[in-house]
């Protein structure tokens, strides 16, 4: 390892990339130019610097000329930086003392018709690269151990499948459920679409597998009380009936599910003859139904100002339950009052077709003219007929959405993960990372994120387990050295405004017990927003320091860095 105090000795390697660069730029000229720049003690050009022979040249030059900075002028760091960095490391040079100058993608290829201007540009870029290299610092990557175990919060269908999957992959898994029993909403369902399987059957199957699994420890009637640590090393405290238990895990999956909305003050809900779709499931279990006229109202308490979202499965629940009733007793009259029916895919659309065939009546209403519920009849303005019609009922079933659990906020705070506007958990990215949180090592599955049906809950349970295993399958994690940090000598500058703490997307900054700002390097991704924002300019961004960036700017301006 090269010492910090040595004089800077830079080696510059210009790549022809066959004719890709060499065909436009005078690479020999650039090599000669590089040699004239301050601190450059060696410069060379190769036909292909990334080829074995090119890498060998770099390694030999590091030895021979005692180089403590290496610059390659070739393609883009986005593809080739790792390769050149490892060549430097093989020759004993810290990989952060390597610097890249892009003279292909952003020079020779885009200025092919102006080779002279492109040459001048390449010279500037090399000059800037050399200025930056002079200010580079060796950095250490941190290696942390990974605890090969996982915590799944929530013992519903999603959480159970996640836990089972993790266990099968060989990871010790803790499954924590706040209720007395596993199963979540499965417990209150009768039959499931799209195969009309009994909910209890599915539940029994997965639950018995979980209970028999020695690799899974189930804690029911248990709450999470504190979560500390970071990816690979979470320390979690749970409380079961007043007993506090501490567990250590490498990854956490949030599968807390969601809660059916009770439509208090909506459409005369009384829980007896005006019930919710979820309550109907319970009625159907024993088939204690003696109504001849049943009306279902869809989108109750949702897709409105208060809750802008569609709860995803309620159309299907209504169709499924209506068909179950029709099968038991084809004489029952069922009307479904809907705003829009959502039945995606072949299997779901089939339910709708069957429902129409079986004589179930569908009446569209608009939110401006909602159904008016009276003692034993409903007045509804029929969009298609353009007139109000009256339907008698003995049972009114209200399809209400799933809403976020009340304790989501508390769990989100413990995990330091965000919630969206309806208090569901918010994933890192809707398409790129749909089952991740931005915080490393924490994943999400099922209706905790958004109301989803059973099939989707199971898929997401698997997805989250697979994502968690990308961490758990490693003994150690190597953490990027280019992170932000608060240098010891700047600690006095910090006045504790906590702006950095709020801006950090990864919650990598916290206040420690001494009320000092502390940056957890393992969590930091090095975006640099905290450093650019700190009112006291106390935070430093390693590998993209102010000094390094300013040195490039001043080099371009042809001025000395003050």
């Amino acid at each position: 390892m090269k010492s910090e105090d040595e004089p800077i000795r830079i080696g510059v390697f210009v790549c022809h990339c066959g004719t890709n660069i060499g065909g436009v730029l005078d690479c020999e000229g650039l090599t000669e130019y590089a040699a004239t720049l301050p601190n450059v003690v060696f410069s060379d050009h190769n036909l292909y610097t990334c080829a074995e022979i090119g890498l060998k040249t770099i390694k030999e030059a590091i030895e021979e000329h005692n180089l403590n900075r290496v610059i390659v002028c070739s393609c883009t760091p986005r593809t080739h930086e790792p390769l050149f960095r490892s060549a430097c490391e093989e020759a004993g040079l810290n990989k952060y003392l390597f610097s890249f100058v892009n003279i292909r993608e952003q020079c020779s290829w885009v200025h092919m018709k102006k080779p002279e201007d492109a040459f001048e540009k390449a010279k500037d870029l090399i000059k800037m690269g050399v200025a930056r290299a002079t200010k580079l610092e060796a950095l250490e990557t941190i290696v942390v151990d990974v605890d090969p175990s996982a915590l799944v919060i929530g013992g519903g269908i999603s959480g159970m499948n996640a836990a089972s999957n993790l266990s099968k992959q060989g990871f010790k898994t803790y499954l924590v459920e706040k209720e007395k029993n596993l199963g979540g909403l499965l417990n209150s369902l009768y039959r499931l679409f799209p195969n009309d399987q009994e909910s209890s059957e599915l539940l029994k199957d997965i639950e018995s597998r979980i209970q028999a699994d020695k690799n899974i420890t189930v804690y029911t009637s248990t709450m999470i009380t504190s979560i500390d640590g970071f990816v690979g090393n979470f320390e979690v405290e749970i409380n079961q009936n007043g007993n506090s238990i501490r567990i250590k895990v490498g990854a956490i999956i949030v599968a807390v599910g969601a809660t059916p909305l009770k439509p208090i003050n909506l459409f005369g809900y009384d829980g007896k003859i005006r019930i919710t779709q979820f309550e109907l499931e319970n009625v159907l279990k024993n088939y204690s139904l003696n109504a001849n006229n049943i009306v279902m109202i869809q989108c109750v308490g949702t897709r409105n100002e208060e809750r802008m979202y569609c709860s995803n499965f309620c159309c299907m629940s209504a169709l499924k339950n209506a068909l179950i009733i029709k099968e038991k007793n084809p004489d029952v009259h069922i009307a479904i009052l809907f705003r829009d029916m959502h039945t995606p895919g072949i299997a779901y659309e089939e339910y709708y077709r069957r429902a129409r065939e079986s004589g179930i009546i569908f009446i569209k209403y608009s939110p401006e003219k909602p159904p008016i519920v009276e003692e034993n009849k409903i007045k509804i303005y029929n969009e298609y007929l353009g007139t109000e019609i009256i339907i008698p009922y003995e049972l009114l079933v209200l399809s209400t959405p799933l809403i976020a659990n009340e304790d989501n906020k508390q769990i989100a705070q413990l995990l330091k993960v965000p919630l969206e506007e309806n208090n569901f958990f918010l994933e890192a990215h809707v398409k790129l990372r749909p089952n991740d949180f931005a915080t490393d090592g924490v994943y999400i599955a099922g209706s905790a994120k958004w109301p989803v049906d059973i099939t989707e809950s199971i898929s997401q349970g698997y997805a989250a387990a697979a994502r968690a295993s990308t961490i758990l399958s490693h003994d150690t994690l190597e953490v990027e050295g280019a992170t932000s940090y608060l240098p010891e000598e700047y600690k006095d500058l910090c006045r504790g405004c906590e702006i950095c703490l709020k801006l950090c997307p990864y919650k990598a900054i916290r206040k420690n017990e001494k009320d000092e700002i502390e940056i957890i390097q393992v969590l930091c991704k090095g975006c640099g927003v905290c450093g650019a924002s700190c009112p006291k300019k106390a935070i430093k961004i390693k590998h993209f320091t102010n000094e390094q960036i300013l040195s490039e700017i001043y080099a371009l301006g042809g001025k000395e860095l003050p």
């Binding site: 883009t76 020079c107 290829w109 885009v110 092919m112 201007d117 540009k121 931005a438 650019a532 700017i553």
Partner: protein
């Protein structure tokens, strides 16, 4: 003479730099004036970088980041935007605002990358050389730009800008949410104040001056100068070192 501007681009690693690479792979041709500094996130672009670039005579500076919602670091580009807006407001005080530009370019927008760079280069060509480069070097402007850099680097503006989104979304420490418009008004007035204060401080660094002197030097009404002198003195940044007749002379501490 054909003016070829010197242009500096700050590109975020994940979107815009990748977009620039794609422009290369697609052999999109654009003017060779731009020199690029890669940063991990556009939110890393400290206002100081832009202001230093202008001071060393760069003719135009463009910052590029991911489109809203696409940021690799979730919301770094929003931070880039609030910082950039402040720099733009500050530069409008010395008519340099058109020399800087912020643009969102994704990793798939190779063609657009070329278009953005071309159009920015053209716009700088139309503006002509920077007054801080070449023969017609404007020393007074450089001093003002230094004051702007100090203002932008000062705790007040940095804290205001850095907490802008927090205040808009979560509210201030009293839980009051403040609208974008109100915050912009606060920011504009703070910017004007800080710019003037830094100019006063720079003048008082060199020699002791009276309010009247400062008013003449900076071409600002003496009552406005006095207001800031009082505030600077209250913060122990300046003090009077002599009194001639009844006129106190101030110096930077």
């Amino acid at each position: 003479m054909n003016f070829e501007p010197k242009i500096l681009g700050f590109l975020c690693n994940w979107c815009s730099y990748a977009g620039g690479d794609l422009a290369g792979v697609s052999r999109i041709q654009y003017p060779p004036n731009i020199r690029v500094i890669r940063v991990m996130c556009s939110g890393r672009v400290d206002p100081k970088f832009i202001l230093s670039g202008l001071q060393v005579g760069i003719d135009g500076i463009i910052v590029m980041g991911c489109h809203h919602g696409d940021c690799h670091y979730l919301e770094g580009n929003y931070e880039a935007e609030v910082k950039f807006k402040m720099v733009k407001l500050l530069l409008s005080l010395v008519d340099l605002q058109d020399r800087i530009h912020l643009e969102w370019v994704s990793a798939s927008e190779g063609v657009r990358f070329g278009e953005v760079v071309t159009s920015f280069t053209e716009s700088i060509k139309k503006l002509g050389p920077s007054p801080l480069s070449g023969e017609n070097f404007d020393q007074q402007l450089l001093e003002k730009l230094k004051a702007i850099e100090l203002a932008a680097g000062g705790e007040r503006l940095r804290a205001l800008v850095a907490s802008k989104r927090i205040i808009m979304e979560e509210g201030n420490i009293y839980g009051e949410k403040i609208s974008q418009e109100e915050l912009d008004e606060i920011l504009i007035s703070a910017i004007e104040d800080e710019f003037l204060r830094q100019q006063i401080l720079l003048k008082l660094k060199n020699e002791p001056l009276s309010v009247k002197d400062l008013s003449q030097l900076l071409n600002i009404d003496s009552s406005v100068i006095l207001k800031h002198i009082i505030s600077l003195k209250a913060r122990n940044l300046i003090d009077y070192i002599k009194i001639e007749g009844i006129t106190p002379f101030y110096q930077k501490l």
